[in-house]
């Protein structure tokens, strides 16, 4: 592996991991609210959360660019065209996968256990931390891995809001695109190999986590 390849891999893994960590708390909160509570505007939020799954990633990227661009309402954060913008693009695009998986995981927790915990004197936060979350953990871990895998491959939103700056914002998928454009197919295939290996590992682990029987 060349130094350039290692740099690309490290940037991609680091930003994808960060994106997954950043969405974890808000993702679990929204998933729990969708699974366990009835509230006004729930279906709207449900739809909004799912949008990045079905919208063209480039369109999502354009929205992010408008938000985070120099003249945008969040422009003062000065994150556009930096590795931070890569994280933002990855986070937004992975968010629906985490929320969906976590929501299903929360819904599969028998409310009976939560009710009994309450009769034993537990408050809502303790019920969540000691009953709901541990019982949903497999679905959540699997969802987080899928979100991570999705982040690894992010392209369309990233290229708009973070650009394609070699050494700074060119992730694995952007670099593959660059190399193909330059006619360096051999190098592109090597990155492709890494891409397949990483995606395979993430999805495979996610499957194993879900299927594993409890000890």
């Amino acid at each position: 592996m060349s130094a350039g390849e290692a740099g690309i891999l490290f940037l991609t893994l680091r930003t994808a991991a960060l994106a997954t960590i950043v969405i974890l708390a808000p993702g679990l909160a929204i998933a729990w609210l969708l699974a366990r509570r009835r509230w006004r505007g729930k279906s709207i939020v449900e739809t909004l959360v799912a949008l990045p799954l079905v919208m063209p990633p480039v369109a999502t990227g354009l929205i992010l660019l408008e938000l985070f661009g120099r003249r945008g309402p969040l422009g003062f954060l000065k994150i556009a065209f930096s590795w931070r913008a890569v994280v933002v693009a990855m986070a937004v695009m992975s968010f629906p996968l985490l929320v969906r998986a976590a929501r299903v995981a929360f819904e599969e927790v028998n409310p009976r256990f939560e009710q009994i915990a309450r009769t034993l004197g537990a408050g809502e936060w303790r019920v969540f931390a000691t009953i709901t979350l541990p019982l949903a953990r497999r679905g959540i871990v699997s969802g987080a891995l899928l979100a991570f895998a999705r982040a690894l491959g992010e392209f369309g939103a990233t290229i708009l809001v973070a650009g394609n700056i070699p050494g700074r914002t060119s992730t694995l998928s952007l670099s593959i695109y660059n190399l193909v454009q330059l006619g360096r197919d051999g190098d592109a295939f090597r990155l492709l190999g890494w891409s397949v290996a990483l995606a395979f590992a993430a999805v495979w682990i996610a499957e194993v986590v879900v299927r594993r029987k409890s000890a």
Partner: protein, 201 residues
Amino acid sequence: MTIELRNVVLPLAHFTLAVDVQMPARTTGIFGPSGAGKTSLLELIAGLRTPKAGRVVIDGRDVTDLPPRDRRIGYVPQDDALFPHLSVKQNVLYGAHNADDAVLDVLEIRHLLPRGVNQLSGGERKRVALARALLSHPDVLLLDEPLAGVDVELRNRVLQYLVRIRDEFPIPMLYVSHDIEEVRAICEAVVRIERGRAGVG
């Protein structure tokens, strides 16, 4: 110490539960056929269901608007609902400050504490669920068909544990069952319930 349901109304799937009844003795059985509303009655007292009208009063305390965690009840559901991801020890201590030796001894579960919940037999599960409820130091014990799903040989043994709880601890018990023999073996008084109507009998 008594439990009162004052003109409580709760619509159910096929009929409406409408009861105005006071627990006549420290150990009271709620007896009636399957689907009569017995479990719903317990859930009303536990705060897992909210009545459409009426008040739930435990020992003079109106708990109708209190969430389950503030009602100081020990609820043992029919399916025991042991937390599957926790050890027996973690289960019995969930609502407790400390493991009361008397409870562990009377129910003979001390040796089970390090085990996982899925390593327990049916009778052991019932005893652990009873201990978990008792150790939260409730004002009243609500038992929903504690012998349901227990095979004939085990029935008498679990029944003996229930009698021991009744005799060793001064706690009031509300005992739901569709088996009058069982109710008579445990309880001093019986409330009959049929299609959502209850009466002391």
